[in-house]
């Protein structure tokens, strides 16, 4: 799913036009947002009153003076950039070219805007990139990733990290001759900033690991190389983002826990909150914030670019605090626009198992957080629900919106008959799917595919004799699964079995489960022999019939065209049950801002992403496009035009080649019309499957449970008969139930 997502994002990064940015009274704004504008942000640079944003395909210029956004498309294929930065009051682009000998040539160009395009001009400065590659422990060559790009005088500085996150180096490149110098190498350095008197400010991890939580601030002398610790950051396990330093006023700014802090004279005791910053905390290095004219501050992540006023006197009176890992999405923006009097703090610090803390906060009647984000199937939500620590939602708009959703979803959002939660994120559990092209190769039809787990087991047992000789290159499952096929199947079967059931009514000693397991016990898979390829990972989309990670739900980016979701049932004729994982927002019953919190939840319901709305609301049947569809389409069109132009000016012998490409592209563009993230047919298929939709709830019997794993392994290894297994499972279940919550 991750791979798909990244793919979708890269696809989504195929270009654009003018974006809108609403300026609130205080100067706070989200100037670009992926889910409305379709851009992904690579880097930003500030030149005077202009903010330049590189979106992988275009450069956007946002003028602070008039709030206008202008798009400059890439003029030619050669103008692809890796990063942009500003130096000497001018915009530069960094380009990494892969040469034929697999080395990289890094070049710096000046960037010029002409009409509605940008071009790279002049002779590039070639940077000495040799120190950016290294050899990993197992002998592979890798290139170091780098962030924290900044310019001081005629030098470009980056922090680069090796492949194992063990060494972070501050590298200096001359913008005159490209010479490289490694200034500092340290596993703990997290971010650097120019400071006064030829010094740098460094954010360091204290402790031996790159990930160590405690951060400290140090000054670093470029000339002598000496570091001097200045202060502990005292931000606990929170991450630190967006550091920026104002030399004139001796201000240090940083973001942690969803808020911007300002420190004077590097004295941490002067730290004060100056505004909120709902940025998603996902970077390995501390990102850099940028100071803008007029007491403003810029910070961006992959999807959003924020401008915030840093004059604390203009802070809104009220605050609404949201805790949990979430994007600040359409709901956040809509709410902020409608409620300029309220500062919404999104503290998305990831905290491993916040459960104990949450219960403790409840018992201490803690009111510091207004809205919590929780997984509906998490232990924490289970505990809160069990003990009535969830505020009832009575806002008519929320009740109405929730009323539109599938009854099972409505049911999942209630606790003791009261509506207590709204959904903000949905993930479907992975189920079986089959590959269309492999099915065709085998000469099979959908009717011949197994519909139940028992049939699946039978097919796998037959595979060796029936298909192997004719189709030696095809495999029924990912070949890496075959080594322990019994365990794999067992896990899938049990997980599927438990998902459909309410914890209170769950039983394992049932005829359907016993029969299925009996089949598994008796099946002989020894005839399947698929050769694994040399690297051990032989998975290839077109050789494997079944995957076990097909999606049920509808997504932002659509499903793949060759993979068909094919969930399995336990009984012939019965519907396969499919389940979803919901992440929800709940209101702290001790919150002092319950009205605002409920208002926020109303916006969450009203601004639900289309993919989620369609997945949860049976009456939402409009087909929808992927995020950034328009941007992508425009880019494709533009590329098509440039191809045609190139053809006209190309040499005669190349024209044929161009024509072929153009013809292909024309077809591709024509197909664009039919590209839906969810077409009417997709939605209809989904509605069919969703008839047996269940929402995962908390159950102590979750498959990660150690004892259950041990039992599963004992059974799969043939050390335990079916009867023994189901009765042992039931016994554990009974013990858990009898203990109570």
């Amino acid at each position: 799913m991750n791979g798909k997502r990244i793919l979708a994002l890269i696809l989504g990064a195929l270009l654009a036009f003018g974006a809108t940015g609403a300026m609130a009274a205080t100067g706070d704004a989200v100037i670009v947002s992926r889910d409305t504008d379709g851009y992904n942000i690579s880097t930003a640079a500030v030149v005077g009153e202009d903010i330049y944003l590189y979106t992988w395909n275009a450069i956007l210029r946002y003028s602070l003076a008039d709030g206008q956004m202008t798009e400059y498309a890439r003029a030619s294929e050669g103008a692809y950039l890796n990063h942009i930065f500003s130096a000497r009051g001018q915009l530069y682009g960094l380009v990494e070219d892969w040469k034929e000998d697999e080395t990289i040539e890094a070049k710096v160009y000046e960037i010029a805007m002409e009409g509605d395009t940008y071009t790279l001009t002049g002779e590039p400065i070639v940077l000495d990139w040799s120190k950016m590659s290294g050899q990993s422990r197992d002998g592979y060559m890798y290139t170091r990733s780098y962030e924290n790009i900044l310019v001081v005088d005629d030098f470009l500085y980056v922090l680069s990290i090796d492949d194992s996150y063990e060494s972070t180096a501050l590298m200096e490149f001359s913008l005159k001759d490209g010479a490289c110098r490694v200034i500092f190498e340290n596993s703990n350095i997290r971010g650097v900033l120019p400071y006064k008197d030829g010094q740098f400010l460094a954010v360091m991890g204290v402790g031996e690991h790159f990930w160590s939580a405690e951060l400290a601030l140090a000054t670093f002398d470029l000339a002598s190389g000496a570091t001097t610790k200045v202060a502990d950051m005292n931000i606990g396990s929170n991450n630190l983002l967006g550091i920026a330093y104002d030399i004139e006023r001796d201000w240090l700014l940083y973001v942690t826990g969803g808020q911007i802090y300002r420190v004077e004279g590097l004295d941490m005791s002067t730290a004060r909150i100056v505004n909120n910053m709902p940025i998603l905390d996902s970077s390995t290095l501390t990102s850099l914030g940028r100071l803008l004219p007029g007491d403003r501050y810029l910070l961006y992540d992959y999807e959003n670019v924020y401008i915030r006023n840093i004059n604390p006197s203009q802070l809104p009176e009220r605050t609404l605090k949201i805790k949990g890992y979430a994007e600040a999405n359409a709901a956040y923006r809509a709410f902020s626009d409608a409620h300029p009097e309220t500062s919404v703090i999104v503290d998305n610090t990831y905290s491993g198992s916040a459960g104990d803390d949450l219960i403790n906060a409840m018992m201490a009647r803690d009111s510091s957080v207004d809205v919590y984000l929780l997984g509906l199937s998490s232990r924490e939500y289970g505990a809160l629900s069990e003990r009535g620590f969830l505020q009832e939602l009575t806002d008519p708009a929320i009740v109405e919106e929730v009323g539109k959703l599938y009854p099972v979803v409505q049911e999942a959002l209630t606790s003791n008959g009261k509506l207590v939660a709204v959904p903000y994120e949905i993930r479907s559990d992975s189920v079986f799917g089959y590959n269309k092209s492999v099915l065709e190769k085998l000469g099979l039809t959908e009717e011949q595919l197994p519909k139940t787990w028992s049939q699946m087991i039978e097919l796998l047992a037959r595979w060796g004799d029936e298909y192997q000789t004719d189709f030696p290159e095809l495999s029924p499952l990912d070949p890496s699964y075959l080594a322990e096929i019994r365990r794999r199947l067992m896990n899938m079967i049990l997980e599927n079995y438990m998902k459909g059931m309410d914890a209170g009514e769950m039983r394992f000693d049932t005829p359907i489960l016993r029969d299925t397991l009996k089949k598994l016990e008796e099946a002989d898979f020894s005839a399947i022999e698929i050769e694994e390829s040399e690297d051990g990972y032989s998975w290839d989309g077109d050789t494997v019939l079944f995957t076990d990670w097909a999606q049920v739900g509808l997504t932002d980016w659509g499903s793949s065209s060759y993979e068909v979701t094919w969930p399995l049932a336990f009984e012939e004729g019965a519907d396969a049950s499919v389940s979803m994982e919901l992440n929800v927002m709940v209101i702290n019953p001790f919150s002092e801002n319950k009205d605002l919190a409920e208002e926020y939840l109303k916006y969450v319901m009203q601004n639900m992403k289309i993919s989620m709305r369609t997945s949860l609301d049976p009456n939402q049947n409009e087909p929808y496009r992927e995020v950034g569809y328009e941007v992508n389409r425009r880019e494709a069109q533009r590329y098509f035009e440039s191809l045609k132009k190139s053809r006209d000016s190309a040499a005669e012998e190349d024209k044929k080649m161009y024509d072929e490409t153009i013809a292909e592209y024309e077809k591709y563009l024509a197909e664009y019309e039919d590209r839906w993230a969810a077409s009417a047919e997709d939605i209809a298929n989904y509605r069919e499957m969703a008839k047996t939709l269940t929402i995962n709830r908390y159950s102590p019997m979750q498959s990660g449970n150690e004892e259950i794993i041990a039992l599963i392994n004992r059974f799969s290894d043939g050390q335990m008969p079916v009867e023994g297994f189901v009765s042992a499972m039931d016994q554990k279940l009974r013990m858990m139930q009898m203990e109570g919550y």
């Binding site: 459960g355 104990d356 018992m363 203990e739 109570g740």
Partner: protein
Amino acid sequence: MFKRKKSVVLFLLPGLIGILVFYLIPFVGGVYYSLTDGGFENKFVGIQNYVNIWQNQMFTLGLKNTMELSLLCAPLVWVVSFVVAVLLSGLKSSGGFFKNAVLMPYLMPTSAMLLIWLIVFDYGGIVNRAVTALGFDRVLWLAGMPMRVPVVVMYLWKNLGFSVIIYLAALQSVPEAFYEYARLEGAGFFRRAFSITLPLVTPTAFLVLVMAWVNAFKIFKEVYFIGGAYPDPEIYTLQNYMNNMFSKLNYQMVTTAAYSFAIIVMVIFGVLFFVEGRMRKGVNGE
């Protein structure tokens, strides 16, 4: 006198603060949790939690098992260590090797030894080889009632040495003449050990019993390593219950169970101390 007072404070304070902060205050403060419902209003419910927990089958099962296991373990260690100590004290040489062998397991980390025990008590393992050699059928040691055996054996293995050493210390102060007298009377080894030696070391025997019992109450580690959080109902202990409720974030029930158990422990040891006191008086009175 003033100087003395100051030093009392000096000596007592660091330790006292620690005991207070890390043991007593939490212990007393926790009572609050056991008297409230832990819900939104956090109502004071009096002894309702106690009533509920005593009606919870898993709590009573855990309590029963803990009691049974400790009643099995403590007397076993008590008797076996006494016999071993008497044997050791009768040796003409110092018996250093044997003492080491007995005491060594006390220092061995339970978790590091677990795999060996699992091999030994395997269905096809060495213990079952011995069992079949004696003409019995194999026993499934790692499930059901028989699972208590490995647990008790692991406990015995680990805790025997400490009790032996305490006994040995006491035995060495028993005057030689007693043995001589007994031998002349023609008493056998066990007669001598239990009817002559044991009464002479009653206070020590009492202490050994207390220590053995305390450690038997702490048997959870062994159970947890073999059976996990939900072991077979036959070895599900009270600590299982408390740990599981803890991971369910139900502090009310954990504290309620803890205080219920603490009261039981106090009553048991109160009675034991009382009995011992009476016995000591009796001995002195003669």
